[in-house]
């Protein structure tokens, strides 16, 4: 059976279908030329759309840049820098005010003397006259006035 089928297949393969006519070839060539022409026109339109889209994108980007630039050149709010005193500054500034001496003196003379001694040990830089004047010591007129000595 297999041999019969092979023989039949060979016989069928040997048969040649009727060839297509020149009219069909010509008709297909003409239709394909038309298809190509239309695709070129369509492609041109498509490329024009692309150009328009790209140009629109560029314009939008420029507009956005300008807008952001305008926003950015607004005056900046003034900066307020708050510096915390360093530990050494804190020690220097810890020299007591006249009020604290008055309060210490009111409480007891011992406390007043302890406060004076403490400030005398801390000391004040020589180039800082204002601070030097504010340091309390036994020679300070303010202290003398406080304790009633002329």
């Amino acid at each position: 059976m297999s041999g019969d089928l092979d023989a039949l297949e060979s016989e069928l393969s040997a048969l040649e279908p009727v060839a297509i006519s020149p009219e069909l070839r010509r008709g297909i060539a003409e239709r394909l030329a038309e298809v190509e022409r239309l695709s070129r026109v369509g492609g041109g339109r498509q490329s024009r759309w692309w150009l328009a889209a790209v140009a629109g994108g560029i314009v939008a980007a420029c507009f956005a840049l300008i807008v952001f630039h305008v926003v950015d050149i607004r005056p900046h709010p003034s900066l307020v820098v708050i510096t915390q005193p360093t530990p050494s500054q804190a020690t220097e500034n810890s020299v007591n005010s006249l009020l604290s001496y008055e309060r210490a003196f009111a409480r007891s003379t011992d406390e007043f003397e302890a406060l004076l001694d403490r400030d005398a040990k801390i000391g004040v830089p020589s180039n800082n006259d204002a601070a030097a004047n504010s340091v309390m010591s036994w020679s300070n007129p303010k202290v003398n006035a406080l304790i009633g000595v002329e």
């Binding site: 039949l8 069909l24 239709r31």
Partner: protein, 165 residues
């Protein structure tokens, strides 16, 4: 552009006759079959770069266009026309010595069921593989192979009956 024309010409040189033969499984005359092939080729050409197997797709386009043509013309009209034309327009070319056998094969081929015959035509004269036929017809490769075997068996049976008569 020239490359495209060359590609189209090469495809027509290689498959044109088989495509027209495929179309004639559903279309009565050679002229109508060529109209179908022309329409199918244009459809194929527009979509050819998006398909995995262009040759299988080309045969599928011809089949689909032929079926569209058949639907438009109406089955009854097609059958009457087909019977009248088929005697006048041979499917195969051949020498006068082979004429009797050729006519017998053509007659036997017409009696093979349509779904088997289209596989036989695509395989034998279109040179498509079973996977390609499967893709063109939307069936499995195994089904295509089965239909091919049934078509050959039916054809052999028909030819045997004819030789007895």
């Amino acid at each position: 552009m020239a490359d495209s024309r060359d590609q189209a010409t090469a495809l027509l040189d290689k498959h044109g006759a088989a495509l027209a033969f495929v179309a004639r499984q559903w279309v009565s005359g050679k002229s109508d079959a060529e109209d179908v092939v022309q329409e199918a080729f244009i459809r194929f050409w527009r979509a050819r770069q998006r398909v995995a197997d262009p040759v299988a797709f080309l045969f599928a386009c011809v089949r689909n266009c032929a079926l569209d043509w058949q639907r438009e013309r109406g089955r009854q009209a097609r059958l009457a026309e087909s019977a009248a034309r088929s005697e006048r327009e041979p499917l195969f070319v051949g020498s006068i010595e082979q004429n009797e056998r050729r006519v017998a094969i053509e007659a036997a081929l017409r009696r093979v069921p349509e779904e088997q015959r289209e596989v036989l035509v695509m395989k034998t004269w279109g040179g498509l593989s079973f996977p390609q036929i499967a893709e063109a017809l939307g069936i499995s490769a195994n089904t295509a192979a089965s239909r091919y075997r049934y078509a050959l068996a039916k054809l052999r049976e028909q030819l045997a009956e004819e030789s007895v008569l």
